[in-house]
C-alpha cells in the first residue's frame, strides 16, 4: 500500500456509536433526541424493510424457494444479511471446543432476524448467585431497570398479558392474538403436564401506537422485515426516527478497527475501514459507545491496545472476552394425527407463536440450576424449500383417508398424501439459562487476521454438566406434552449420546457476558451504568455487559440498559463529568 493514509472525518461528535442493532440503535435514538450530535457506524449496508422487500413474496419468487444460502442462513426471504460464516471474516476455535457465531451485517443488525420475543428479566434473574451460589449477582436489580422496561414497552410496543408472575414481570402490553388451533391443543397438553402456558410477549403492534408505524396485518412474516414497520427492528423503529432529528450521521459499510485513546487513556474516537473504498478513516467523539454485539465488542476492545491500556481497552480486570455464554437450546417435533386432513383457513397470525411457557419450576427440587422457557410452533404455514420432502417416512405409518399405504410411492396417491399431512406438524423448543463461567471465552487469535487486517476471535467454550442436565429435563418435559396432546414424536427424542440434543453454544444467537458489569473493577469491565471502569467516556451497551442472561431473550434488556446508560451519559455531560 504505497499511498496509505488515514482520512480523519472533519466533525467531532458528542458521541460515536459502533453498531446499529438493539443497543446502538437505542443509544442513537435516545442521545439524538437529547440533542447530542451522534455518529453511528454500521459494518453492513443500509436497509429499510419498506424498500428492501421480501415480505408477502411467494415461494416461487425465490429460485431456490426460500432455501438458505451462505448470504442468508435463515432462508432466501429472511431479512437478515449475514450468517454463520462471512466471506473474508473468519473466526477460530481452541481444540475440542464449540462456538457457532452468527453475525448480521446491516443496519439494525440482528434485530432484523430475531423472533421479537420481548421478555423482561425478573427480580431473581439479577441476583442468581444469592439464590444458588453460582456465577455472580448483577450490580443492579429489577427495580433499577423497571422504569426503562416500561419506557421501552411504550416506545416500541409489545403484546402480552399481565399474569402477576413472580419472576416474569408484568408490562405495558398491547393485546395478544388469539391462540391458533395447535396452540390450543398444546395449551391443554402442557397444562395437564403442569406446565404453565400464557400468551406470548412479542414486539409486534397488534394495535397502532403512532403515525410512523402501521398495525400488524397478520402475515406471519416478521422474519422478513415489515413494510409497515409493525414489528420491532432497530433499523425502522430506532435508527430511522433518530436520523429524522438531524443530529445523526450514519456511516454504513464501516468496519470498526480500533477505539482510539489519548495519552490520558480516554477515548477520542474510532478508526474504521470503509468497505466501499477499503480506505482507513477516523471519526472523533467526546464519548464512544460500543454496541457491536457481545463478541465483536470484546474483539474491538481487545484490539484497542495502547500504553495506557496494554491489555486491551477497559481490560485491566482481564475479564474482557470471558464469561461468554449463550442460551441453551433443544427441540422436539412431531405430528398431530387429529389434524390430518384438516380444514383449510388462513392461520398465519403474527410472525411467531401466540403462546409460550415461562419457567414454571423451583430449581431447589431439580438437579440443575436455572430454568428455561418453551417456545411452540406448528400449523398451516406457507410451503418453502423442504416442504413435502421425506414423505416416505410418513405415508406408510398412518392410514390415509381410510387406506393403509406402502411407504414412498408417487403419482396421484402421493398428491393425496401431501394434502392429507399438510398442517399437522407441531414442535417445541426450550431456551434456557446457561451459567456464565470465566473459562468460557473468546480471545484474540495470535495468528489470524480478517480481510481488513483486523485480528480475529478465537473461541474457547464448552458446555458444563448443568446445561446438559437442563437439556435432559427439556426433553422429558417435551415428551410428556407431546404425549398429552396425542402427538407422535418424529424427531428430537435424543438421549445422552447427543447430550439430549443440546445445540452447540452460540447457535441460539444470544451471546452475552464478554464485557460484564460489576461493582468490583477487578472482576468486571463496566460499572452499573455500562461505563468502563478504566475509561470513563467509554460505554458498552450490547449483550456484552450482561452478568447473566436469565432464560429470557436478551434484546428487551439490552434496549432497557442502553436507554438507561444514555440517560446517564446525558446527566454526566450536564455535570461536566464527560
Amino acid at each position: 500500500m504505497g499511498d496509505f493514509q488515514i482520512k480523519v472525518q472533519p466533525k467531532t461528535y458528542d458521541v460515536v456509536i459502533v453498531g446499529s442493532g438493539a443497543g446502538g440503535g437505542m443509544a442513537a435514538y435516545s442521545l439524538a433526541n437529547a440533542g447530542l450530535s451522534v455518529c453511528l457506524l454500521e459494518a453492513g449496508p443500509n436497509y429499510d424493510p419498506a424498500k428492501n422487500v421480501t415480505q408477502l413474496k411467494w415461494p416461487w419468487e425465490s429460485p431456490r424457494r426460500g432455501a438458505s444460502t451462505k448470504f442468508r442462513s435463515f432462508g432466501d426471504f429472511d431479512a437478515c444479511y449475514g450468517g454463520w460464516q462471512l466471506e473474508g471474516e473468519p473466526y477460530t476455535h481452541a481444540p475440542d471446543t464449540q462456538w457457532d457465531w452468527f453475525r448480521a451485517r446491516m443496519l439494525g443488525g440482528r434485530t432484523n432476524h430475531w423472533g421479537r420475543i420481548s421478555l423482561r428479566f425478573g427480580p431473581k434473574d439479577f441476583k442468581r448467585k444469592s439464590i444458588d451460589g453460582l456465577g455472580d449477582d448483577w450490580p443492579i436489580g429489577y427495580d433499577d431497570v423497571k422504569p426503562y422496561y416500561d419506557r421501552v414497552d411504550k416506545l416500541i410496543g409489545v403484546f402480552g398479558t399481565n399474569e402477576g408472575l413472580p419472576n416474569d414481570p408484568d408490562g405495558i402490553f398491547l393485546p395478544p392474538p388469539r391462540p391458533r388451533l395447535h396452540e390450543l391443543m398444546i395449551k391443554k397438553g402442557a397444562t395437564t403436564a403442569g406446565v404453565n402456558v400464557i400468551p406470548s410477549r412479542l414486539s409486534m403492534l397488534t394495535k397502532k401506537i403512532n403515525n410512523d408505524r402501521g398495525a400488524c396485518f397478520f402475515c406471519g412474516q416478521c422474519s422478513r422485515g415489515c413494510t409497515v414497520y409493525a414489528d420491532f427492528s432497530s433499523s425502522s423503529v430506532l435508527v430511522k426516527p433518530a436520523l429524522r432529528t438531524g443530529k445523526v450521521d450514519l456511516f454504513t459499510d464501516a468496519m470498526a478497527r480500533e477505539v482510539l485513546t489519548n495519552k490520558e487513556g480516554l477515548a477520542t474516537g474510532v478508526s474504521y475501514v470503509s468497505k466501499n473504498d477499503m480506505q482507513e478513516y477516523q471519526v472523533k467523539g467526546r464519548t464512544v459507545i460500543v454496541a457491536a454485539s457481545a463478541c465483536e465488542s470484546a474483539r474491538l476492545l481487545l484490539n484497542s491496545k495502547s500504553s495506557r491500556h496494554p491489555n486491551g481497552l477497559a481490560n485491566s480486570s482481564n475479564v474482557v472476552g470471558k464469561y461468554l455464554h449463550d442460551s441453551t437450546g433443544a427441540a422436539m417435533g412431531g405430528v398431530l394425527p387429529q389434524l390430518f386432513g384438516r380444514k383449510r383457513y388462513n392461520e398465519d397470525g403474527v410472525g411467531g407463536m401466540h403462546i409460550y411457557s415461562p419457567w414454571w419450576l423451583d430449581n431447589k427440587k431439580l438437579d440443575f440450576p436455572r430454568g428455561y422457557h418453551i417456545e411452540y410452533w406448528g400449523g398451516q404455514g406457507m410451503p418453502a424449500y423442504g416442504f413435502g420432502m421425506g414423505i416416505e417416512n410418513s405415508n406408510g405409518k398412518y392410514v390415509v383417508n381410510g387406506k393403509q399405504k406402502e411407504a414412498g410411492g408417487y403419482g396421484k396417491s402421493l398428491k393425496e398424501d401431501q394434502r392429507f399431512f399438510y398442517g399437522a406438524g407441531v414442535g417445541m423448543a426450550g431456551r434456557g439459562e446457561a451459567l456464565a463461567i470465566e473459562s468460557n471465552l473468546c480471545e484474540i487469535d495470535p495468528n489470524t487476521v480478517d480481510k481488513f487486517g483486523i485480528p480475529v476471535l478465537r473461541f474457547n467454550v464448552k458446555w458444563t454438566d448443568h446445561e446438559v442436565k437442563q437439556a435432559k429435563h427439556m426433553k422429558e418435559t417435551f415428551k410428556e406434552i407431546m404425549h398429552n396432546m396425542g402427538a407422535i414424536i418424529t424427531w428430537g427424542d435424543d438421549g445422552p449420546e447427543t447430550n439430549y440434543g443440546l445445540e452447540a453454544p452460540g447457535k441460539i444467537i444470544h451471546e452475552a457476558g464478554t464485557v460484564r458489569m460489576g461493582s468490583d473493577p477487578k472482576r468486571s469491565a463496566l460499572n452499573s451504568f455500562n461505563q468502563a471502569h478504566d475509561c470513563k467516556n467509554l460505554f458498552v451497551v450490547d449483550g456484552g455487559a450482561f452478568v447473566s442472561q436469565a432464560d429470557k431473550n436478551i434484546t428487551w434488556t439490552i434496549l432497557a440498559l442502553s436507554m438507561r446508560a444514555s440517560d446517564y451519559i446525558v446527566s454526566e455531560m450536564k455535570k461536566q463529568n464527560l
Binding site: V53, W60, R65, F77, C219, K343, Y345, N346, M382, Y410
Partner: protein, 223 residues
Amino acid sequence: MDRRKSLKVFALTAFSSGVLLDACKPSDKKTIIEDGASGKHALTIDRYPAEAVEHERLMSEKFFTEHEMQTISVLSDIIIPADEVSGSAIDAKVPDFIEFIVKDRPENQLPMRGGLLWLDMQSNKQFGQPFVKLNHDQQINIVDQIAYPKKAKPEVLQGVSFFSLMRNLTSTGFYTSEIGIKDIGYMGNKPNQWNGVPDEVLKQYGLAYSEKELKECVSFDKA
C-alpha cells in the same frame, strides 16, 4: 454514485444489480452489467450486491444435459401427474427448479447425475433402452421397483435413494409453485385480520377459547 443512492436504486429496480457490481467483482463486470441491464435474471425479492453477483453466476451456468433434463421431466411428471385438483410437475416447471437447485446446492449434483445414469443402465438391462425411450408401462415397471423403500429388493437400493431424492425435489418444487400452493390449500400470505380459529373448527375439535382469552386478545369485527 454514492453508496446510499446506489442501494436505493438497487431496491427500486430489481435488475439494477449491474450498478452495484463494480466494487464486487471487476473481472465479470461487463457481462453482468449487460445481463442486469436487460433484466434477464431479474428477481422480485430484495438482493444485496453479493447475492446479485451469485445469482448471475448461477443463472449463467447449465448443469444437466438435454438428455438428463428429458429424464428428469419424465420422472417428475410420473411423481406428480395432473389430477382432478391440479396440474402436473411439468405444468409447474419443476424440471427448471431442479436444474437451478442442484447448481445452488451442489451436494445434489453427484447423486442426481449418478442416479440418472443408474436409471438408464437398469432400463437398458431390463428393456434394452434408456429410460426416456421406454414406453409408459415399462417406465412404471422400473419406477415401481424403486419407489417403495421398505419393499424394494436389495439390488436396487441405490435406485431407491435416487428416486427418494427425485421425489423430494419434485415435491418441494411442485408445492412451492403457484399451482402447488393452490393445490395444498395454503390460504395466507396476504393482509388479514386474525380473529382466532373459525368457530366451526373449534367445534369440530371440541375446543373453545377461555373467557380470559376472549377478553384479553385482540379481535376484529366480522364484516
